[in-house]
Subunit: 374 residues, 4 copies
């Protein structure tokens, strides 16, 4: 069943395995006339790249994107935009040793049961490497969104139980600045220091940490389609499609369940310019699945990295109990949540681009052609 | 943009407003030969019905389904199954008084901005009444799933901060029995008593409560499609499409973010019959987006009911500050989470039916026709 | 597999059987704010109705539509529009006699093989009665199109080998006027007279005739999506989905195969107002799958009605040779092509409405939100 | 709007321009466990290649496919299969001279109107070069079909008015053998000789010819989905999506319109093995949109090649009348229909693969999981 696609109008289809020729994406449905370059894509890929600090995996992927189609003289043409990122450093040897074992926390058990075959080299299609294609596509979506004044930024909100102080959601630029100047994408410097210490410690323990990412969106009122394609439903779908995610909450999220209606309801108010808005934002920026114009705010839970350098109990493909030990040469992040920041941001951008284009046929007046042509 | 559908192969499209002629659903893609009757649907609708106790809204909807198509001699024919539930008691008068005001926590602001028009009577299309169509469709999905030994049950896990003792997830029948004999769908009798007391109290306060629902699925290994249509992504999408939901978590969920990899990884083990399984189930029943055969377990956060009988600050459609006061005759649930139990269950069944049919083309051997025909 | 839907953005899902409670359609994706009434729908249904002359079936279906959802104060709300047409006169008795036989030219053989079950009463889901739902949906599409100055009209071009003189394609109003004042939807009065004589004769022979319908569209340049969703591909799909159709051709069609490139290429020209257009229109109004602004012109081939009152050789469901004889009381059209005129027109309108809305995200500038909101 | 995809379950998305880096396709939904190699793809691409005879274009594309993903140890894994064909010989210089003119019979006028931008080099995305991606994908579909005993072959049925003698449709192997040993894919040697003479002549005239392709499918009963996704509707959609096509007919096609019902209805018969079949096959292998088990037989009309080396009247992008003259160095086929044979075959295979997988959820019994797992 075709399932490697995301989006309805602005649709991506990704392909590629961790240790195959490369990872790619086809963006189908990007409007024509948008200025775009390989640099735009590479500028985003660099954020996903590991190896910049000890807090992420020491691999040096050094991804560079090749745009294979859909551009002409620096602009999109309306044709599909294919982007390919060739795999560079792919040593499959370490995986030989463990290919006969089910990997705890990994997908080889379920893939083998479902498909009867599994490309074990680096996790094959189930590898987090696939998210590079999402980031590449997200770069295109962001350019489209910018013109409509829609922006989003993701950041680390909590790692190993160490939470940040919630930033001012009305100032995206500041959040973004602090986040991208942090080696762990954490806008709160004090919390970041503690988290980095905690990560250093967990690496020594040959163990890993989980964490929570947050994302804020500034968008006008009207994005999202009722009843099933609510903006938060699309976002939840997007987030839970990212490897290692365990939860999603928008606005007040799970804490809403302990509030009263009189506390939680966001009162409507009107400002001096006559703009209607909510005085508070427990809703997290949507009502009835449609954006309210207030900041859209959600969180995503990531489990601790499954790949750890400790011996773990498992079973072999032949059905015998065995010990799983990751080879020393295998390199993994002590906390996948950190590197997922640009991925969360990219998936958010893809949801928003799709929602933006979906919304072009909501009103009769918008769907009517001007009298003088299409 | 078409957005009132859910599912790829087993697809539903719902229609109808709270105070229009009725609510309906077309199920497109149900295999032929499944025994089905209107009674099957009504048996599920009764659980969604309010008015059985003071803990839910005193309205007596008394929904009965009419199957308009797709059945012949008691079996499905492969043709679309349309189910219609006529609205009975629909007094739109109370809504006249408030039609000129933005309703806090409701969708009329965003709908008006997006569409320029809003059927304010009972909330129109944005009413939770739409969920009756989901429950009706879920009844069909459940019958399909039963034959494949796939079952699910939802229940109240926490209301107003009062949590239940987690039930034994391996015994669905027991959970289901306790849940459906409880006036508030709560399988823990002691917790239920406290919750009911809390609800009585909040009603006196003319306020409302939020809550958390849980759902357990028993299914074989192999359901769910990588990379985007992961089982948990489809479930998250389904859950966040339900009105009043604010969050979703699978397995360890947000608590996973505070665990170490060595704690969270579920070790593989093999039982005496040679069946491979995980010794623990922090994952919540999926790996790489595909079911593992262990119970699939997730939770959904519901905000407190937005409709409360207190005066609230708001703005009129003309942009003037105003006070919103729900008419005394309007009837609403003190906690929407309770009535959402059958809705969560129905949406889960719809996801599973779709995943089941999607999975029929995963393996080459399954997709090949027998030599003697189609 | 969900397959009872048509369209991507402006999407219809139909349901219902010939002798069940009724036939219906859900239109999902119609923009909000369009004026619409049940009268609009009934005005179209009347054209599909038989019994107006001896040239069509003497059944009096007298269809009236009930709009079940999606309207408020005379306008669409953006919510799905469900339309239901209750079956009135449905005598299943005649079908009892033939339910154990495969019907030549009908679908019961293939349905039974595919689904293992078949609602034989009046042809069940395979009945041409399903097309009433298409006509109802087409009525809504037409209203949407009118505002964008897009119009289409279908007509009888040939019956039983008797062809009309091709009308002036630039004057839709005239074609429409002549077509709808003809008892057989034929704009050429002289040809119509001969065709009616031929039909009278074939009825006496207890036989049936085939025919060709034509359809002309006036639309601006730019409708249709390359590469797969070309306008002509969508039209061909739509037409071949109508029961009894055997072929489709656009513009010069099959006759193009005997022309030279120098004859067939439509030269570009410019008029005094500076509008670029093609001097001829062998292309039939599209280039590269996108409308050129010239009249879009296509033809559809219909086989002779399969239901005839002659004895035919067949096989019983038990696999024995048998004679098929339609009961005398069964009523059928001597030429299904005639009654298909409003169906072809409706399907055309559905394709165009979808293409119109699809086109809203082709250009970057159209997809950008105005600075002041969504 | 995403529109560069084809198929629901077995879905392809193509990308690439004539003079860009290359042409590619992502196949999403191919079942796991199918043996596949680059050679399988190249074996098909070679048939589409020009330059083998004077009857097709003298370009030497020499396409070779690189499979970028979805294979492991010679088998498909269930992951998307991306295939890339790098463009080799792409001299854009000749197109510089004509970039300011609308090309008669080509898509630059409509693309410019729709998108405001056009990659004129070699026709960009609108080039027939895109069909290489279809042929590559078709190679995979064919391998999948073979295992289910489903086969198809396309061939030249008529060029420039010279028709072949219809072959015996029950012997696919013979048709295929004769077709692929012919320099113009024509199974009738005598007709082929005449056609080749006609082509030589038209080349001298600096003109081009149209033609008709036919395709025969051997498939079991049960393929195709009512009501909209009828097998013939899917085929018509597929065929009209191929550049230069003007018409489609199945079985008796347009000639059915001049037959009587008593002539056209295919009587059912039963053979000595008890297999029910139709005695004749005017239907062309489907009833009610579902395959009957008889050969499926359809024809596709191709217009004469638009690119001819004669001066043609046109208009410049600035709106002034001009003369269009193709540069001498530009190379084009005197009859595009010939090279479209493998394209028609590939698109047919793609439709069939999709229909095959769609059909896996038609019957309840097929959709049920075996008790012992997924």
């Amino acid at each position: 069943m075709a399932s490697n696609f995301f989006g309805q109008i602005f649709r991506i289809t990704t392909f590629g395995e961790s240790h195959g020729p490369g990872i790619g994406v086809v963006i189908d449905g990007c409007p024509a006339g948008l200025a775009l370059s390989e640099q735009d894509v590479n500028d985003q890929l660099v954020f996903r790249q590991p190896g910049k600090s000890i807090y992420t995996s020491p691999r040096k992927e050094g991804d560079t994107a090749e745009i294979l189609s859909g551009l002409f003289e620096g602009k999109t043409t309306g044709a599909p935009i294919a982007i390919f990122i060739r795999n560079k450093e792919a040593d499959s040897a370490p995986y030989e040793a463990i290919k006969e074992l089910y990997r705890p926390g990994h997908a080889n058990f379920t893939y083998l049961e479902k498909y009867g075959i599994f490309d074990y080299r680096g996790g094959g299609r189930a590898s987090a490497r696939e998210t590079a294609a999402r980031v590449a596509a997200g770069a295109v979506a962001k350019k489209l969104l910018k013109a409509s004044n829609i922006e989003c930024t993701a950041f680390v909100a909590e790692i190993g139980g160490i939470a940040i102080q919630e930033p001012d959601l009305s100032n995206l630029e500041e959040i973004r600045g602090k986040t991208y100047s942090s080696p762990i994408f954490c806008p709160d410097e004090a919390a970041a220091a503690k988290i980095m210490e905690r990560i250093s410690q967990i690496k020594e323990e040959r163990d890993s940490l989980g964490g929570i990412l947050a994302c804020v969106i500034h968008a006008p009122v009207g994005l999202g389609e009722p009843v099933y394609w609510k903006l938060e439903a699309m976002l939840a779908f997007a987030m839970l499609s990212i490897p290692a995610t365990k939860g999603f909450e928008i606005g007040s999220g799970f804490s809403a369940t302990r509030m009263k209606g009189s506390e939680h309801n966001d009162a409507f108010d009107v400002d001096s310019a006559g703009r209607v808005h909510t005085a508070t934002n427990f809703a997290g920026g949507t009502l009835g699945g449609i954006s309210t114009g207030s900041p859209i705010y959600f969180k995503v839970a990531f489990k601790p990295t499954s790949s750890i350098k400790r011996a773990q109990q498992t079973v072999s493909l032949k059905g015998e109990r065995a010990t799983f030990q990751l080879p020393e040469t295998a390199r993994h992040d002590p906390c996948v949540a950190i590197r997922a920041v640009p991925v969360v941001e990219a998936m958010t951008a893809l949801v928003l681009a799709d929602a933006l284009l979906m919304g072009r046929s909501s009103k009769f007046e918008d769907s009517v052609l001007p009298r003088s042509g299409a």
